[in-house]
Symmetry: C2
Subunit: 82 residues, 2 copies
């Protein structure tokens, strides 16, 4: 069966996020000062072939650990649905 | 009040996603061949000062149109919560 996995890969909360800081400054320069914090990460949309949801999730977790996320700087969250 | 907005900015479905294709090849090279499609976009985590959820969403939509997403190549989805 084919499952869809949505993966969020974000910079760890303890770390500075220079890209987010730059975008926050850009927003201020555009006059949008009601946005007070910006953090930027990646969003991955995956199609996974697996027998069930649990196996699909395991495949995606493995892929995150091996390639998609850098655990030194990032954490990830996975949502799997049909 | 402070609201949290989660914004997903993804390449339009009609467009090729070279970054996704590269990651898909990387996964195959690692022996992970049960993932058959990868599309990669951005995930933004924002803090917004607004009177209510609707106003917070309007602020974030405006920011997406002006800076956060490129409508020629990307679409965005916004979720706002407290």
């Amino acid at each position: 069966m084919t499952y869809i996995a949505e993966v969020k890969v974000m910079p760890l909360k303890e770390l500075l996020d220079p890209q987010g800081k730059a975008v926050l400054n850009g927003l201020k320069n555009l006059g949008i000062d009601t946005i007070t914090e910006v953090r930027i990460g990646k969003h991955l949309h995956l199609k996974v072939e697996a027998e069930d949801v649990e196996k699909a999730k395991t495949i995606v977790e493995n892929a995150c650990r091996k390639l998609l996320a850098n655990p030194v700087m990032e954490y990830f969250e996975i949502e799997v649905h049909e």
